[in-house]
Symmetry: C2
Subunit: 148 residues, 2 copies
């Protein structure tokens, strides 16, 4: 951990997922890793510059980044209708500022636990929430259009 050497940060070097939109200060990606597969709609907003903490940004920059996060949240609610939104900026593995926006359902694999906890094995997988693929595609398309 700690400050990576120049060129050693995966979010400086790679998009971090499927790129949906990008501006000078931020980009929005669809998570295409294990978390993204486990939690459909999992979206990340990544600050383009290598900064570690929100309090490393100016007040104006904080407002820009959170404005995008909250608009993503609003579109996620509109298109996917989750029971709850989870927001987090952790960065313990990759200390380059990024926000997780996660749609949660009462009958998902972990609810009400955070997604990082152990899954709820008392539920039969067949009873778990399935996100409608066309709603999901509508969500990604809405993000692309809003932030084009």
């Amino acid at each position: 951990m700690g400050m990576p050497e120049a060129g050693a940060c995966i979010l400086c070097d790679q998009s971090g997922g499927q790129l949906l939109a990008a501006a000078k200060q931020w980009r929005i990606i669809a998570a295409d890793d294990d978390q993204g597969r486990a939690f459909p709609g999992f979206t990340r907003i990544i600050w383009q510059a290598h900064q570690r903490e929100m309090s490393d940004l100016s007040t104006t920059e904080q407002g820009v980044l959170m404005g995008v996060v909250f608009e993503v949240e609003a579109l996620m609610r509109q298109h996917l209708g989750p029971d709850k939104i989870n927001l987090a900026s952790l960065g313990n593995h990759v200390d380059h500022l990024h926000w997780h926006v996660i749609a949660r359902w009462r009958d998902d694999s972990h609810f009400p636990a955070p997604i990082w906890a152990s899954p709820d094995v008392s539920d039969a997988p067949a009873s778990r929430h399935v996100v409608d693929p066309s709603a999901l595609e509508g969500y990604w398309q809405a993000l692309r259009e809003r932030f084009a």
Copy 2:
């Protein structure tokens, strides 16, 4: 889960921890539950009104709440010097808007995993980070003074 009936929300009815500061729209508490004991300095900022999601607030309200969160983060860094800050708004158990501000150290019980994951049992507890009690008291006092 879901919208609680009037009077059925624990964060409408109780402070949620040790109250450090309060304004009309928000309050700051020191977590005095299991999470607060496991992660010294664990601070929560609670929106006073019963709202569920950040996108239920106006842009102005979002800015007010996040401004407090980021000032708390800055004071936490200044007084406790953590290796990383973790921020999260989940609300799966209590769907009344609140933010977790958590100081993390490389040698804490879970790092680099999120605090909600299983603890890292490969470390001897004796080797784990200990937060200096006077630094912690200085942090709480700084919060009280800043937001008085």
